[in-house]
């Protein structure tokens, strides 16, 4: 009976493993800023105990909008996503994808039709636990 109880506790422990964290190898996406038009720009700020720094820039690259994270660094966490949002609370947002790395230069395509004047906040958001890691208001 005692063995079965221990087995059950072991099952609970294995069942509660956290999600994998974001890669930490520095990203270095190829993007030539001189060949694109800068539309909006903001500075990353961490939220609470999380540290996020660098610059968020939105470019028009031959008719396609792109979010560029430059000199970027972020605290690590599970299921980190890059959002464009109307507020810092992700009330209404566009998910640009998983954060590629906690460091380095990285680009994210912005879907056609996204109103970047409305979705002016770039967020690093932990989707799994609905937690804000960092924000940049683009102006």
């Amino acid at each position: 009976m005692k063995k079965l109880f221990i087995l059950f506790l072991l099952g609970i422990a294995l069942g509660c493993n956290p999600e994998d964290a974001t890669p930490t190898d520095p990203a270095n996406d190829a993007f030539d800023e001189t060949m694109a038009t800068l539309l909006r720009e903001g500075t990353w700020m961490g939220s609470g105990s999380y540290n996020v720094s660098g610059v968020a820039q939105i470019y028009d690259d031959n008719g396609k909008k792109v979010l560029l994270l430059n000199n970027f660094s972020s605290s690590n966490g599970p299921d980190l996503r890059v959002y464009l949002s109307t507020t810092t609370g992700a009330t209404s947002f566009v998910n640009l994808g998983e954060l590629k790395s906690t460091r380095g230069k990285q680009t994210y395509s912005i879907p056609d039709g996204t109103d970047i004047d409305q979705f002016k906040f770039a967020l690093i958001w932990c989707q799994q636990f609905s937690a804000l890691f960092g924000k940049a208001e683009t102006l």
């Binding site: 009976m1 069942g15 609370g89 566009v94 994808g97 879907p111 636990f129 609905s130």
Partner: protein
């Protein structure tokens, strides 16, 4: 009676028909031996778990009385962190492109249901079986989360769907528990129960947050869990 049964099947009222058949069987099998089982089980999966308490009144059938058919009730409490719920109505659930998601941070659903049990007593010490919730109600607190439609999302809140009913396939509604189980009797009337639990929980959003291809406010999570528990035979 056969005509009625066929009509019921055609109108997809199978669970009600099953319950009716069980009651009929119970009435007819007056010389059957009966037993009662009470179970307490705890189940666990990735970032989720459940506890369930049930009580079944069981009729033993067959020449050697090894077949067990029972009716009873079950209370299930499901708790989890960060779970994705998918569009629940059958018309949306059957088409992946039409199904959106609701991500809830701390879902917690309590369900009280009438349940059906079918089992087979392999020997004095071992029994196998299956049970499933059929009809009941659910309750739980309001939860916040995100509605996800492709790469678009918005914050929302939802509560457990109140009414539960077992229908066919994706036509089910509400929160329903089911188990494939094995019991090993360690004492005359006390058994350890191991089970594979398949648990549906359902939330209803405050508004019909999904608009395309049709308006929808119901979202379902299907959890596969392994459970361990105790059975007391009366």
């Amino acid at each position: 009676m056969l005509v009625t049964l066929i009509k019921e099947l055609k109108t997809m009222k199978l669970p009600i028909t099953c319950l009716f058949c069980c009651f009929t069987y119970a009435t007819l099998a007056q010389d059957s031996k009966t037993v009662n089982y009470a179970d307490f089980t705890g189940a666990i999966g990735r970032n989720q778990g459940s506890v369930a308490v049930d009580y079944f009144y069981v009729w033993k059938a067959g020449k050697s009385k090894k077949i067990e058919v029972g009716l009873g009730g079950r209370f299930t409490s499901y708790f989890a962190s960060s779970q994705y719920y998918s569009s629940a109505p059958a018309s949306l659930a059957s088409d992946e492109r039409a199904s959106d998601s609701l991500l809830l941070q701390s879902p917690q659903v309590n369900a009280l249901n009438l349940a059906i049990n079918v089992g087979y007593r392999l020997s004095g010490k071992i029994g196998l079986g299956f049970n499933i919730d059929a009809l009941g109600f659910s309750f739980g607190g309001k939860q916040t989360g995100s509605y996800l439609n492709g790469n678009l999302g918005q914050a929302t809140s939802a509560k457990p769907t109140s009414f539960n009913i077992l229908l066919i396939g994706n036509h089910d509604r509400g929160s329903l528990n089911s188990e494939f189980y094995a019991r090993y009797f360690i004492k005359d009337k006390l058994a350890i129960k191991l089970a594979y639990q398949y648990l549906f929980t359902e939330y209803t959003t405050e508004t019909k947050i999904q608009q395309l291809p049709e308006a929808n406010d119901r979202f379902r999570n299907k959890a596969s869990l392994f459970s361990l528990g105790l059975t007391k035979q009366f």
